[in-house]
C-alpha cells in the first residue's frame, strides 16, 4: 500500500473516532445500556419526541409605550403649571393604535418658544409638531419608540426566564421569535400541563403601594355619589376584593386611590410566602434601601392615613398606617397557599413591562413522544436496511464500499449533532432517513459512471478515476441546490421543521466527504491489492 493511501486511511479512521465521540461522548459504561444512556445524553431530542409545551406569545409593547407617554403627559401638565404656560386641553387621542402620541391644544402663539423648550429639555425623546389652531402633536421619536418597544421585549424575556427558572423546568428555551413582531418563543420540555406555567408567565405582577383616599364602595356609582359626583383631582377608582366576605353584598369593592405611588415593584428587594396576624397565607416583602427611604418619608407624613396594596390595577388590601414604616410590609388578600407562592415568585422575578398574549400553544404528551421515537427509529432502520441490502446485491463488492460510506455518513451526521447540540425532532429523523436515500445517490452516480467507462473499454484504475472525476461536478451541483432549500427551511422554520432542515444540511455536507473521499480511498485500496488487468467487482 502506498504512503499516500495510508495517510488517507488514517484521516478517515481519525474522523470516524472524532464523530463517534460526538455521538457517545466518553462513555463510562460500555454495556449496551450504558452506551444508550450516553447517546441520549449527547443527542438533544426535540419537544415532539420528549414531550413538552411550545408557546408563542406576544408582548403588548403598546402597554409600555402608554406607560411612558402617560408619564410624559403628567410631566407636561406639571411643567406647564410651574412655567405658567396656558393650554386648553391635553389628551392622548388614540392610546390603542398610537400610544406614543399626545395632543396639546390651545397653546398661545406667544408662548410657543417656552413650550418648545420644555419639550426639548424635559422630554428629549419626544418631538413636537404644530397643527391647526395652536394645537401641537407631541410624539415619541421613531428611534426612541423602537428602542422602547425592543427594550420591553428584552425585559419581558428576562422576567419570564426568571419565573420559569424558579419553577424548576429543565432546559427551557426562551428567546425572541424573530419571525413575528414582538414575539417570544418559549419551549418547556416535560411540561405537559401548561395551565399553571402560563398563568405565572402571564401575570404582569405590577405592584404599587398607593394612598387609599376612600372606600370601600359597593359599586362605581356609589363611589361617585359619595364624592359628590366628581372624583378628586389625581385620583382614580379601582376595584378590589372586599377584605371580608361579608363586606359587600355584590362581592365587589371599589376604592378611591391616589394616582401617584408611594413605592412600586421596582423598589422591591424580595418577597416570600408568609402569614398575616390571623394565620392566613400572605406575602411578606422587603424593600430596597432606596425604596425603604421613599416609603419611610411617605409613611411618616401620612400616619393614620390608609395605604392600598395594588397588584395589576386591583386593590389587594388596605391598611391604616399606624407608624412610619421603613422597609417591610405584608400583602394579604384572602389568598390560597398556592396563590401566595406564585405571587411571591412573580414579585421576586419583577414586573413584566407590558402585558403578554398567547398566540400559539402546542403540547406533546410524553406518550406520543415515546411512540414517535419508536416509529421513527423503526422506519429509519427498515429504510436503511433496504438501501444497504440493495446496494450489496446490485453492486457486489462496490456495494460494500457504498455501505461503509453510508454508515460513516450517518456517524458523521449524528456526531455533528452531538457536537453542535443540534436538536433531533421527528421530521429530523425523517431527514436522517432521507439523507440515506439521497446520500446513496452520489454513490450510484459514481458507480454508474464507472460501469459506463468500463463498458467503453477502460482499465479499472482509469475507469475509477474518470467515474469520480465526472461525477464530482454533478454531485456538487446537486448538493448545493438541496442545501439551499434546506437552509431556507432552517431560516423560516421553527421547532420540528428546523430539526428536519438541520439533519438534512449536516447529512448532505457529510455525504460530500463520505461518498467522494471515503469511497475513493476504498476503491484505491482495493485496486492497489489487485493484479494489473484483474476485473473490478461493481
Amino acid at each position: 500500500m502506498n504512503k499516500n493511501l495510508t495517510w488517507k486511511l488514517v484521516v478517515i479512521v481519525g474522523i470516524l473516532l472524532v464523530f463517534l465521540g460526538g455521538i457517545l461522548g466518553i462513555p463510562r459504561d460500555w454495556s449496551g445500556r450504558g452506551l444508550l444512556a450516553s447517546i441520549t445524553k449527547r443527542i438533544n431530542l426535540g419537544l415532539d419526541l420528549k414531550g413538552g409545551t411550545h408557546l408563542i406569545l406576544q408582548v403588548q409593547v403598546n402597554d409600555a409605550v402608554n406607560v411612558d407617554s402617560d408619564n410624559a403627559e403628567a410631566r407636561l401638565k406639571e411643567d406647564f403649571r410651574t412655567r405658567k404656560i396656558n393650554y386648553a386641553d391635553i389628551t392622548k387621542p388614540d392610546p390603542v393604535n398610537h400610544p406614543e402620541m399626545i395632543i396639546v391644544k390651545g397653546v398661545p402663539p406667544d408662548q410657543t418658544s417656552d413650550f418648545k423648550s420644555i419639550i426639548a429639555d424635559r422630554l428629549p425623546e419626544y418631538d413636537a409638531t404644530s397643527g391647526a389652531e395652536n394645537s401641537w402633536t407631541v410624539s415619541m421619536k421613531a428611534q426612541s419608540l423602537k428602542d422602547l418597544k425592543d427594550r420591553a421585549v428584552t425585559q419581558a424575556i428576562e422576567t419570564i426566564r426568571n419565573r420559569i427558572d424558579q419553577l424548576g423546568v429543565n432546559e427551557p428555551v426562551i428567546q425572541e421569535h424573530g419571525l413575528g413582531d414582538y414575539q417570544i418563543l418559549v419551549q418547556l420540555p416535560g411540561v405537559d400541563d401548561p395551565a399553571r406555567v402560563k398563568e405565572i408567565m402571564q401575570s404582569t405582577a405590577m405592584l404599587e403601594i398607593k394612598e387609599a383616599l376612600g372606600g370601600p364602595y359597593s359599586s362605581e356609582a356609589a363611589a361617585y355619589q359619595d364624592n359628590g359626583g366628581k372624583l378628586p383631582p389625581d385620583s382614580i377608582l379601582m376595584s378590589g376584593k372586599p377584605l371580608h366576605a361579608s363586606d359587600s353584598e355584590s362581592g365587589e369593592a371599589w376604592y378611591l386611590i391616589s394616582r401617584a405611588s408611594a413605592v412600586t415593584g421596582r423598589d422591591l428587594r424580595t418577597a416570600d410566602p408568609s402569614q398575616d396576624e390571623n394565620g392566613q397565607p400572605a406575602v411578606r416583602f422587603i424593600l430596597t434601601s432606596e425604596g425603604g427611604r421613599k416609603f419611610y418619608s411617605f409613611t411618616s407624613t401620612h400616619v393614620k392615613d390608609r395605604l392600598a396594596v395594588v397588584l395589576d390595577n386591583k386593590v389587594q388590601s388596605v391598611a391604616t398606617i399606624e407608624e412610619p414604616i421603613r422597609e417591610q410590609g405584608i400583602i394579604h388578600g384572602r389568598f390560597t397557599e398556592q396563590e401566595v407562592q406564585d405571587l411571591s415568585m412573580t414579585l421576586r422575578s419583577g414586573a413584566l413591562p407590558a402585558g403578554i398574549k398567547y398566540l400559539e400553544e402546542r403540547t406533546v404528551g410524553p406518550s406520543l413522544g415515546a411512540d414517535s421515537i419508536r416509529s421513527g427509529v423503526q422506519a429509519a432502520i427498515y429504510g436503511m436496511l433496504a438501501v444497504l441490502i440493495f446496494m450489496l446485491v446490485y453492486y457486489r463488492w462496490a456495494g460494500v464500499n457504498a455501505d461503509i460510506a453510508l454508515i460513516l455518513n450517518l456517524v458523521i451526521l449524528l456526531g455533528f449533532m452531538g457536537y453542535f447540540g443540534a436538536v433531533l425532532t421527528l421530521p429530523g429523523i425523517a431527514g436522517v432517513i432521507l439523507t440515506v436515500g439521497m446520500g446513496v445517490d452520489s454513490n450510484v452516480l459514481i458507480f454508474e459512471r464507472i460501469r459506463e467507462e468500463l463498458r467503453n473499454g477502460k482499465t479499472p484504475p482509469s475507469a475509477v478515476e474518470q467515474g469520480f472525476g465526472h461525477a464530482w461536478i454533478t454531485i456538487v451541483d446537486t448538493h448545493v441546490t438541496t442545501i439551499v432549500s434546506a437552509a431556507i427551511l432552517f431560516i423560516f422554520g421553527t421547532g420540528p421543521v428546523k430539526g428536519f432542515a438541520t439533519t438534512l444540511v449536516f447529512g448532505l455536507a457529510a455525504n460530500l466527504f463520505t461518498a467522494v473521499f471515503v469511497s475513493r480511498v476504498i476503491f484505491d485500496w482495493v485496486l492497489s491489492r489487485k493484479q494489473r488487468g484483474e476485473a473490478l467487482s461493481i
Partner: protein, 407 residues
Amino acid sequence: MEFFRNTNIDFLGKKWYFLTFSLIFSVAGVLSMAFWHGIPLGVDFRGGTLVYVKYAHPPDPSAIHNEIERAGLKNARVQRYGQAANNEVLIALDIQETSEQALDKGKTQIIQALESHAVPGKQDLNNSSSLTIANYLLEKDPLQLGSGTDANPRYTTIAQAIVNYRDKTKSGVLGSIDELKSVADPAVVASLEDNFFVSDFGIRNVEIVGPQVGGQLRRQAILATLYSLAGMLIYLAFRFEWIYGVAAVLTVFHDTLITVGAFSLLNWEISLTVIAAILTLIGYSNNDTIVVFDRIRENIKLLRRDKLADIVNKSINQTLSRTILTAGLTFLTVLALFLFGGEVLHGFSFALVIGILIGTYSSIAIAAPILVAYQEWRGGRGKPPVAMPLRSGTGNRPAQPKEKVKV
C-alpha cells in the same frame, strides 16, 4: 446485476404523451383547488384548536361529538385517527372558537366535556402531570417518611415512575389505578385511590394556533417556497445558462403544483411539515434535473455536430440507470417512512412519496423538452442556438476536474 444497459429510448419523441399526462394531473389538481376542496390548510396555517385523545376502548366519535356539543362548542369535528387499534380520536375546533384573548379555552372546554363521568372531588389520574401527583403524595405522605429531606425526591421519583408507566408502557391511558401496583408501593396506590379516578381517555397532543400566527406561518411558507425557487434559479443560471435555470424552475413548479393538487384531490391537510417535504422535493427534483443537464452540457461539447434533440435524448438514456436507481432507493426509504413512521409523519411522507415519483418523471419528461423547445423556437426565429452552456474561451469558470482526466 444491471437493470438498464445501453437503453435507447426516444424520450423527446414522446413529449406529447408526457405533456398530456402532466396536463391531466395539473389541471385536475388546479380544478380541485379552485372548485372542489380548495387548498386544505392544516391548523398551522388556518388557525384553530386540535386535541388528540387516546381512549382505553374503541371510541364512538358521534357520542363524543354529542358530549362536546352539549358543552356548548359548536362545529367541532370529531374523527377517528391513526390505526384503529390505537383507539385515537382527533377533535378539531374552528378558528372562531380559538380567540387570542383566551387561547386555550376550547381545549379546556373539550377536556371538561369529555370528563363527563368524573368522580366529584377527585382528580383524573390519566390527565395529571407528575408534578400534581408528586405534590399530592408529598402532602399525604403514604410511606410515612415524615417531613425529612428525602421525602421530596422520593415522591418525585415515584410520581415520575407512575407517569412513565402510564405514558410509555400503557401508551397514555391507565385502565384502573390498580394497574399501578406493578410500579408503586401498595400504600401509595391506596392513597392515590382516595384522591384520583381514571377517566377512559388521555390527552396525547394539543395544537392551538391563533389567527395571527396562522397568517404569519402562511406568509412564511409561501415566502420560503418562493425563495427556494429563486435560489435554484440563480444557482443554475450561474452554473449553466439562464434557460437551464428557467427550465429547472418550471419543472419544479410543475412538481409542486401536482403534489399540492394531490393533497387537494384527496382533501388531506397541508401542515408545516408538508411544506418542509415540498421544499425537500424542490431540492430533490432539481437534483435529478441537474444530473441530466450536466450530461447534456458534457455531451454538447463532445458531439458538436449533433442536433440538440439527439444530444438530449442520448443524455437522458445515459443517465437513465442512475435516475431510476436513485429514485427507487429514495423511494424505498420514503416508503419506509410512510409505512412505519407513524401517524404524525403521514402527510409529510405522503408528500415525499408523490413528489419523488413526480420529480423523477419530470426531470426526464418536462425539463429536457423545455430546453429543446426553447432551442427550436429560437431556431425558428432565425437565431443561432444559445444552449452552449460552457462558453469556450471565457476561462472564468470554476476549475473542472473532468477536464483534467479527459483523454
